[in-house]
Symmetry: C2
Subunit: 216 residues, 2 copies
Amino acid sequence: MVPDPVLRAAAVVDLLALLAYGELQAFDQMAADARLAPDLHRRAVLSAMAAAEIVNYRRLADRLAALGADAEATMRPYVAPLERYHDQTAPKDWLEALTKAYVGDGMADDFYHEVAVRLDSPDRELVLDVLHDSTYADFAAAEIRNAIDADPKVANRLSMWARRLVGEGLSQAQRVAVERPSLALLLGDDLDAVSGLFKRLTSAHTARMTAVGLNN
Amino acid sequence: MVPDPVLRAAAVVDLLALLAYGELQAFDQMAADARLAPDLHRRAVLSAMAAAEIVNYRRLADRLAALGADAEATMRPYVAPLERYHDQTAPKDWLEALTKAYVGDGMADDFYHEVAVRLDSPDRELVLDVLHDSTYADFAAAEIRNAIDADPKVANRLSMWARRLVGEGLSQAQRVAVERPSLALLLGDDLDAVSGLFKRLTSAHTARMTAVGLNN
């Protein structure tokens, strides 16, 4: 818990803004990924999932406004790190796109979930609510599994890709943490808490990889 | 009116599929255009408008399924002409993107409106309902007008761009009409009706151009 209420309120705004910009970016990325779909049905499924991000964006932006924050100004610090992450990890094909969503959004959602449970209402409920429901992860997981069943060599290529995603993601997360130390405050009050958090994120990630036939 | 009920039912499926694919394409295009937005607020506005297209897509795809049609198969004939239109008219900047939406979607909506009023319920209501509401056109018109106010030279460049859009749009519409003659059947039973339609589309287009300071 962040003891100082002013600091804490600022940290919550920082978090909501990060999530809001993340939704805008995810919309953009998924809309672009939809172009890589092998058929119109899959393209429509992914487009619909992208559209759902915008509904979440709206809810977060409305909450920022209710807190007296300017959504645009509060999102701005996250533009560079998130764009860099996405530029560095532009998927070359449909499976890379789905793996990115499955692995990257999976880890990000786990992280936000950890933070959310430490928030007060109504932000706690709002953040838990805007995390991806499992529809997208289930869809992506099924596509990845099927591709590996059809051609086991795919597993190696996608495993390497997933490692690159995690590496790039952590390096941009670090930039965000340096830029907005308030966010780190939300994570817990001591080093033990933070290292426990990383342990949980890592084992959830490993389980996710294994579940679709990828290796760390 | 198309007298033969079997032909007419096929024509309605063709029309709904064209609209459905148009929504998928519009989503894709507007999501890409959002990247050209000069700030995060405008980017969010355009992203939200793109997301609305997907809701419309879902409604059209559901109706196609209810009519026993395979959405994917029925949309396929329109993929090439619509992709070609969008490839040939990829906007270079924010104002070109808005002008494309304002001029191109405006004309397309007028056309669909003309067809819709000749349909029976519930397709008539469905098509009228999925046509763009005026929010987007109003937003685009305001942006174009402001840009011309700030720099009158912009009017010439955007007027030329609009003429290119209309030319490319008509040429792809012709391809669609050749490919799906059923759609032409929905338009009316004689040449007079068709030429009246074109007259109305043209004068609505001219009015739209004048309203924002563009010339034909």
